[in-house]
Amino acid sequence: MMSTPLIDAQTFAELQANAGDDFVAELVDTFAAEAPQMLAELRASHTGGAADAFRRAAHSLKSNSSTFGATRLAELARTLELGGLPPDAGPLDALADELARSVEALRQRARGGAGG
């Protein structure tokens, strides 16, 4: 897993080339603002045993992280989407950590740095 880059540089660069740097910077901010809600839904549905809502929230996270080339986050979210409700909250905590790291790295890249 750690051999996978945090952010796939090519995917992110292509996104910038297609949609424009400024737009992508705004889009990263949008993701940063929306992601905590998705995470909260993931935790709530896990606690409540709502498998379908859990799958949908994981699906949204996977979809968005793939868009930005946040490869590791996308893989974690995909595992949750396809694997169903995990027995404990461990994978969710790991996902939350990965999300925080990914958002930070995306922001750096969006500002012209080489985050991730």
Binding site: T11, L15, N18, A19, G20, F23, E26, L27, T30, F31, E34, R56, H59, S60, K62, S63, N64, S66, T67, L82
Partner: protein
Amino acid sequence: MAERGARLLVADDNKVNRLLLGRTLQLQGHQVESADNGRVALEMLKRGGFDLLLLDLEMPELDGFALLELIAADPALREVPVIVTSSLEGVAHVARCIELGAEDYLHKPVNPVLLKARVGSSLEKKRLRDQQKALVERFATSAVAQDVAASGFALGGKRVTATVMFTDIRGFTTLVEQQGPEETIELLNTWYTLMFDAIGGQGGVVNQMIGDGLMAIFGAPMPLPEAAGGAPLAAVRAALDMQELVTLFNAERTAAGQAPIAIGIGIATGDVIAGYTGTQQRATYTCVGDTVNLAARLEGHTKLAGRTVLLDAATQAALGGRVGTAALGAVALKGKQQTVEVFALG
């Protein structure tokens, strides 16, 4: 509606996806509006004016599958093509979407180049369908429109008895040489308008426009009421109306210092193979067979005969004396091995 500048609706509950897809499509020259769930998308579609829907599957309120079902069940909404964009994995979802009527399926993250190609292709297909629909509406009477609505665009023909009419403007080439292109197009448009009115007014269907000429069918796809004289009388009445309209039109032309036009009309009645020909994307209602050829030959013969309207024996006999005709005797028409009894109107 060109590929550029189409009006698109993006339905996606995920804000990042919605914004990015909207941005990509705008950069490709389209107008984009968005909906954050299926219910909102449905309301917007019902208000009309969209050329294409880009649909996410996982949505609250009404998901993509349910929206596809509602669209499929509504004839007005069905005309808007749908491209599904989803990151749901597995071919089963793709298959289900296509079965529900989606035109295409793109996996997220959506590749902009692929998106452009698919959107362009869907819009082009819609353009062809719109054109086909416009053809039916413009080139056919409500009878054809109803027939199409009832039985669909089933390509294929059947043998029916109908009356076929050909008409064109005589000496059109000389006219074209004497006047400018705008004048020529205006003349054609006016002439077509008059002919369509006369033919449609008697229940005929104009199914071909060829330069300065056209072909019309009476009695197919829907039979014309026998009590009113059926297809032959309807065609002859249309021919009389056409002559009258051309006389009025010529009075206007003469007043404007333009040369009057003359027309020729050939009418024949008999068996034809009638049906929708073309492709599934674009079809037209047409007739083929000896009767069609005969009508075309009669029209071609009007100049030589010095008459405006020529009829075959079957049409003349069906009139039952309700309209005056003159027998011109047996005529050897081009392409016919045997001579044909020809009648002139009036």
